[in-house]
């Protein structure tokens, strides 16, 4: 069983990224569950989306011990990294938006938001850049599956930019 | 004697009705079936929907598919019937409390959607069935069991409310003006949109007796003497309007009817195939 947590603030698209990840894993024949928790507001606040991947049916729907936590805001990083395993867990943070790196041995910093705005053209693509990062780091799904899953979920006129974002994220780590 | 052709529209085995002697509801109910006859509505495709209260017992006496809903909820039920089967003619019978108090939100939103319903409000200005409590249409300073010192709550003008909320057709008449009331309802039926007709009816038992007008004929004379046809009302100087009220068609503007509007949604959803 592998457990991934994507966190950030409402509107950053972490839920969409989690759905795309789960769908890609499903396309490779894995069992998946995807869940999220957020506050009453549609924008802002700390939100998280979780993906569990296994080869057996998954019953308990939430993460017990994450393998990877991705955080796109300081607030989310502070809130959601704590149950990571000190030895095997991996914390991935946005280099610019998480200035105070939590005291954790295994942290990877990636300027995902900066890559999205400077290299793809819009901050809107942050979540897909982050997805690319996770695809590479998690080694759970192939880039091709992720690519196919992105194409299925995003609006047709944004496919090209989203694939670019995915690739940039994938190559950034 | 003129043949009472309208009698076929009643469930003879459900009569006599439960209304008090002198009540105006029977007159308004008869006006509805006269209007149905005038417009030649097919009986199997005409549905009568009512709420709760004296007025709303009318549905049980009328030989159509009839629906006696819950208090205030006639318009949502009627909306569901019309949307489910737009070929049906749906007539709503409601009262002043049913329509403008507990059903007030449904009333304004029915008008806003402009769904093709004909809503006839039997306005007796009181909660009659439960013994005479004040309604949102009880006139100022008139007495009710829950307004023993006279009502200080400002009453609604349900016609203005319907018009402001978007109804296609708005009219008022009284139990005294039977022919007029019938033609107001008939025009409402003909209008393909939300039609609202306020029928002022006398309630000698629960309202009249508390307000020095226990005699039903006196109440009807009061209607005769104080109702002013819309055209005359418009010319009436402000100082002459005291205690009087207008009747007639107040508003008629056919805009897009809701089931038609939803047809467009269906066509869009099906990619213009229909």
């Amino acid at each position: 069983m592998k457990q991934l947590r994507l966190s950030g603030s409402g509107g950053q698209g972490v839920i969409t990224a989690a759905i795309i990840f789960a769908e890609a894993a499903m396309s490779e024949g894995r069992q998946v569950v995807q869940s999220q928790s957020y506050g009453p507001e549609a924008r802002g606040g700390a939100s998280k989306a979780e993906v569990i991947i296994d080869d057996k049916p998954i019953y308990h729907p939430k993460i017990i011990k994450p393998d990877i936590v991705l955080s796109l805001t300081q607030k989310a990083a502070d809130k959601y990294y704590k149950d990571l395993d000190e030895k095997t867990g991996l914390l991935v943070v946005d280099e610019d938006l998480v200035p105070d790196i939590p005291d954790f041995p295994n942290v990877i910093k990636v300027p995902v938001t900066r890559i999205a705005s400077e290299q793809v053209g819009k901050m809107l693509f942050t979540n897909i850049v982050a997805l690319g990062v996770l695809v590479k780091l998690s080694k759970l799904i192939s880039f091709a599956s992720a690519e196919a899953s992105v194409k299925k979920r995003v609006p047709p006129h944004t496919i090209e930019q989203n694939i670019k974002a995915l690739k940039l994220g994938y190559d950034a780590v | 004697m003129k043949e009472r052709t309208y009698e076929k529209y009643f469930r003879q085995n459900r009569l006599p009705h439960i209304w008090c002697p002198g009540c105006g509801n029977g007159i308004a109910m008869k006006a509805i079936v006269l209007a149905v006859e005038k417009q030649k509505l097919p009986r199997d495709k005409t549905i009568i929907v009512s709420g709760i209260g004296c007025s709303s017992r009318a549905s049980g006496y009328m030989d159509f598919d009839t629906l006696h809903t819950a208090h205030g909820r006639a318009i949502p039920f009627a909306t569901g019937i019309k949307l489910a089967n737009p070929e049906l003619n749906v007539i709503v019978i409601t009262g002043d409390g049913d329509c403008t108090a507990i059903g007030g939100n449904h009333f304004i939103h029915g008008a806003r959607r402009n769904i093709d319903l004909t809503v006839v409000l039997f306005n007796n200005t009181i909660y009659g069935m439960t013994g005479g409590q004040a309604s949102p249409m009880t006139p100022l300073h008139k007495k009710a069991t829950t307004a023993p010192y006279g009502s200080v709550d400002r009453p609604f003008d349900a016609c203005k409310l319907a018009q402001a909320a978007g109804a296609s057709y708005v009219a008022r008449s009284t139990a005294f003006h039977v022919q007029h009331l019938t033609s107001m309802i008939a025009e409402g039926i003909a209008c393909k949109g939300f039609s609202f007709i306020e029928a002022l009816v006398q309630c000698p038992t629960a309202y009249g007796r508390k307000n020095k007008m226990p005699d039903p004929s006196e109440m009807m004379k009061w209607m005769r003497d104080n109702a002013v046809m819309k055209a005359a009302w418009d010319k009436l100087p402000e100082d002459k309007r005291t205690d009087k009220f207008p009747i007639g068609v107040f508003h008629e503007q056919q805009t897009v009817e809701y089931t038609k509007a939803y047809r467009e949604v269906i066509e869009l959803a099906q990619g213009g195939r229909k």
């Binding site: 308990h60 729907p61 017990i64 | 318009i75 449904h106 869009l268 959803a269």
Partner: protein, 382 residues
């Protein structure tokens, strides 16, 4: 695996409704059920159905009842505060015997509570929420796939028994996405709308019960001129003040469900063959309970699990049969204790029943339930 889809519980509910023949949805948006309305708004017009967003929850209930009377299969969806508002017309549907499915995606209450957090606090409201006496059918799915199946079943039961049916979901399953494969339409059994068995000339009475104690009031607009009321009525459909008519009416409402109870009681038993203890669970919580029971088995504890899908009518026989041979039953619930008391009543003293309650917006962890199972075995159940 070509038909495998990643689907959310709420989406599966909408898909199940469409598959079951629902062609009318009226409602009011409310978290965490909104995706059901959103999906129906998109899909219904494409299958010649109708979606309408009403002015409030009560209107949403009234409009579906009107549409049901006019011949459509109908469904509405809501959550806590909306479920409270809908009770008035749920009672109307029970009294006037109008087929309707009400989905309640439970969230934390009372009042506005915690709109985005899961709970199971409406279990008793689903049974007793309206005034007066009438039975209820309530189904509570634990997976996304079962949400589809339970919705089809709910629509079928609503039509078959001409009664309101509650699909008692929770935020856990409502917002969960899982990979599922939906059945093909020819694999489904769909209960059709009941029709009058007599003509008016043959003395048709709209509320005269058939052999299954369910009447066949005609759809509006089909020429029968029936009268439908929320007042107690006789076989003609017209109000009656008679004590005998009232008693027979209330009896029949109960009996039409009661005589089919075994058939509509759906549940699973896991690891029960040699079980000395059992965890009784339902809805999203059952997923965690299953994981805890599995872990307990690995530790050698003889514990099994009973998972109720049919919450109402309550599975008395299932509980009683198991209680006879068990040393104890644990009931984990995301509430202050609701179904536990039903389990206790049904167990009738044959074995102790212990509640594990949680009501802080978080779902159980497997270890919390595991610990409670270990405590059962430690003999501390009383």
């Amino acid at each position: 695996m070509n038909n495998m889809k990643l689907m959310q519980g709420n989406e599966a509910c909408a898909a199940g409704a469409i598959a079951a023949g629902v062609r009318f949805f009226g409602g009011y948006p409310i978290t965490p059920s909104t995706e059901i309305a959103e999906t129906m708004a998109k899909v219904l017009p494409s299958v010649d159905g109708c979606f309408v967003q009403m002015e409030d929850e009560i209107g949403g209930m009234g409009v579906v009842l009107g549409a049901s009377l006019a011949g459509k299969k109908v469904l509405t969806a809501t959550s806590g505060p909306g479920f409270s508002l809908k009770q008035e017309l749920i009672g109307y549907a029970a009294c006037a015997e109008i087929p309707v499915v009400i989905v309640n995606v439970q969230r934390v209450g009372p009042s506005t509570g915690q709109p985005t957090s899961p709970a199971q606090g409406d279990v008793m409201q689903a049974r007793w929420g309206t005034h007066g006496d009438h039975p209820m059918i309530a189904l509570s799915p634990w997976t996304v796939r079962e949400t589809f199946d339970a919705t089809v079943m709910a629509v079928n039961y609503a039509e078959r028994f001409r009664t309101p049916v509650i699909l008692l979901m929770d935020e856990i399953v409502g917002h969960l996405r899982e990979n599922i494969e939906l059945p093909k339409s020819d694999e489904l059994n769909i209960y059709p709308r009941r029709r009058p068995s007599k003509t008016r000339a043959q003395g048709y009475e709209p509320y005269a019960p058939e052999k299954d104690l369910v009447p066949n009031p005609a759809d509006f607009g089909t020429g029968y001129h029936i009268h439908v009321t929320g007042l107690v009525h006789d076989y003609t459909g017209f109000p009656s003040g008679s004590p005998a008519v009232t008693e027979e009416f209330i009896d029949r409402l109960h009996k039409k469900i009661a005589i089919a109870q075994d058939e509509i009681t759906h549940y699973d038993e896991f690891f029960m063959d040699d079980a000395e203890y059992a965890v009784l669970s339902y809805g999203g919580v059952a997923r965690t309970a299953y994981e805890a029971v599995r872990q307990a088995r690995e530790k050698g504890i003889k514990v099994g699990m009973i998972r109720l899908m049919t919450i109402w009518p309550f599975a008395d026989k299932v509980i009683r049969r198991n209680a006879e041979k068990l040393k104890g039953i644990l009931v984990p619930e995301l509430n202050y204790g609701q179904l536990k008391y039903e389990v206790e009543r049904a167990a009738a003293g044959k074995c102790p029943v212990k509640l594990l309650a949680k009501y802080n917006t978080e779902i159980f962890t497997p270890s919390e339930i595991l610990k409670a199972i270990e405590n059962l075995e430690g003999g501390r159940i009383l």
